[in-house]
């Protein structure tokens, strides 16, 4: 159910027709609710520096027209980003990025990626294939999240816990 590898090209495209630096793409097979996919793609773009404070998110009408999704879904995603303090709506103009997800996260991310890589080497040596790795990470992550009682994505629950893997 989780998309383990983050497909960045899905989240960020070079299409410059809109005033926003990002364009959303949906993965219909991911099992992740549509609004949450949009939230996650914004968060990933923020983490990886494709979106900065002051940048505009695609206008609701543009997203609706290109993805053929319900406008209420896009509004819900943008409201969620506003609740998280990541974006805010400017009446008549659109929704803009307010905060970054912290510049400090980039070196930390690199470090985590490093340790994940050495863990993967171990897993490979132990004979785990890719699916085995995904299954192990997924179930461990679920245990971890449940133990922390983390379920901040209301309405998504177990379908969303894969979002923290970058």
């Amino acid at each position: 159910m989780y998309s383990f590898t983050m497909t960045l090209d899905k989240a960020v495209s070079e299409v410059a027709a809109t005033s926003s630096p990002v364009e959303f793409r949906l993965d219909p097979t991911s099992g992740v609710p549509t609004y949450l996919q949009i939230v996650q793609q914004v968060e990933h773009a923020l983490r990886l520096g494709y979106l900065k404070p002051g940048d505009q998110l695609p206008k609701v009408r543009e997203v609706v027209a290109s993805l053929a999704i319900n406008p209420n879904t896009v509004l819900k995603a943008y409201r969620d980003l506003e609740h998280k303090g990541l974006a805010s709506g400017r009446p008549g103009r659109g929704t803009f990025i307010d905060a970054s997800l912290g510049d400090a996260t980039l070196p930390v991310l690199a470090e985590l990626r490093q340790s994940l890589r050495s863990w993967l080497t171990q897993a490979d040596a132990a004979g785990l294939d890719e699916e085995g790795v995904v299954a192990l990470v997924t179930s461990t992550l679920r245990d971890f999240s449940e133990r922390r009682g983390v379920d901040d994505h209301r309405g998504a629950g177990a379908r969303s816990t894969g979002s923290a893997i970058a």
Partner: protein, 296 residues
């Protein structure tokens, strides 16, 4: 405000009830998806909403309290029936002319602009257009009336995937631009995952489930347990169950917000498709009351 409200609505053809005991309150500004097997009563309900069929029993109002079928109701509703109702021997331009003259208000400028954007030539005969273009023409004629409610009976069923995407994109853009409400019947469950925010499941002439998609997703789980450990739990309503000697899958509805999943079972959320199939597989179930959202 409710875009459609029914109380004890029923329609009988001869001795057969096409729809009965239908009580609904459908909110405005949403896309309401009507799902059900063929012959379940979907088209009967749609026809009563737009005033083409009169109820045998019960009441139905639309657009915040206007009696269905009244002039005040008809003026605010646009309906695209299942077979893309166009006069096939008329040109696109003549279809525009005809529709303008048959309606109290008609935005010719909007209709022309949409058709130009879609690359549809007004001189072409309606019957010579591709399936996707015919659907878009019917939709353009409907939207040019600036309806508050757009009713679509299986609009994308005959279309190829690209035409279907473009059609739904047009409908969704109309929702974003004008805040219209949409009631749509469809068998294309995967498509509904992206567009529906309210579900009404109909089978055997009865409403089985009615509620906002978010609430329904929140309330249902697919629970997998070892068959030996599979037992009933308070706060669960089992919608569908299948089991092998070792494993039992159950689609459950959590009837209380505090209901929990036993630690030796795995649970996950389901999408519209799995939810719908679960309810329809278990056709023997008594009709369910309208679901109410879990309080947050």
């Amino acid at each position: 405000m409710n875009i459609v409200e029914t109380t004890g609505l029923g329609r009988r053809y001869g001795s057969t009830w096409a729809l009965q005991d239908c009580t609904l309150a459908l909110p405005a500004g949403r896309l309401i998806a009507l799902i059900g097997p063929n012959g379940a009563g979907k088209s009967t309900l749609l026809n009563m909403i737009v005033g083409l069929t009169t109820p045998t029993v019960g009441e139905i109002t639309v657009l915040d309290g206007r009696p269905a079928g009244s002039l005040a109701a008809l003026d605010g509703i646009a309906f695209v029936a299942q077979d893309m109702p166009l006069y096939r021997n008329l040109s696109v331009g003549d279809m525009l002319h005809l529709t303008r003259n048959l309606n109290l208000s008609f935005d010719t400028v909007l209709a022309r602009r949409r058709l130009t954007e879609l690359g549809i030539n007004e001189k072409q005969k309606a019957g010579k257009l591709s399936g996707g273009q015919q659907a878009q023409l019917a939709l353009s004629l409907a939207l040019a009336r600036h309806p508050q409610l757009l009713v679509l009976d299986e609009p994308t069923a005959p279309l190829d995937p690209l035409a279907r995407h473009d059609f739904m994109s047009s409908v969704m853009t109309a929702m974003a631009d004008d805040g219209i409400s949409v009631v749509l019947s469809s068998h294309l469950l995967a498509e509904l995952e992206r567009v529906a925010d309210h579900l009404v499941l109909v089978s055997n002439g009865r409403i089985r489930v009615d509620g906002p998609v978010d609430d329904l997703i929140e309330e249902h789980r697919l629970v997998t347990c070892a068959t030996a450990a599979a037992s009933d739990h308070p706060g669960w309503e089992v919608i569908e169950s299948s089991s092998t000697g070792t494993q039992t899958h159950r689609l459950v509805r959590l009837t209380s917000p505090t209901a929990s999943i036993p630690s030796d079972c795995e649970a996950r959320h389901v999408g519209i498709e799995e939810l719908t199939l679960g309810y329809f597989r278990n056709g023997a179930l008594a009709p369910l009351p309208a679901l109410t959202g879990v309080s947050r």
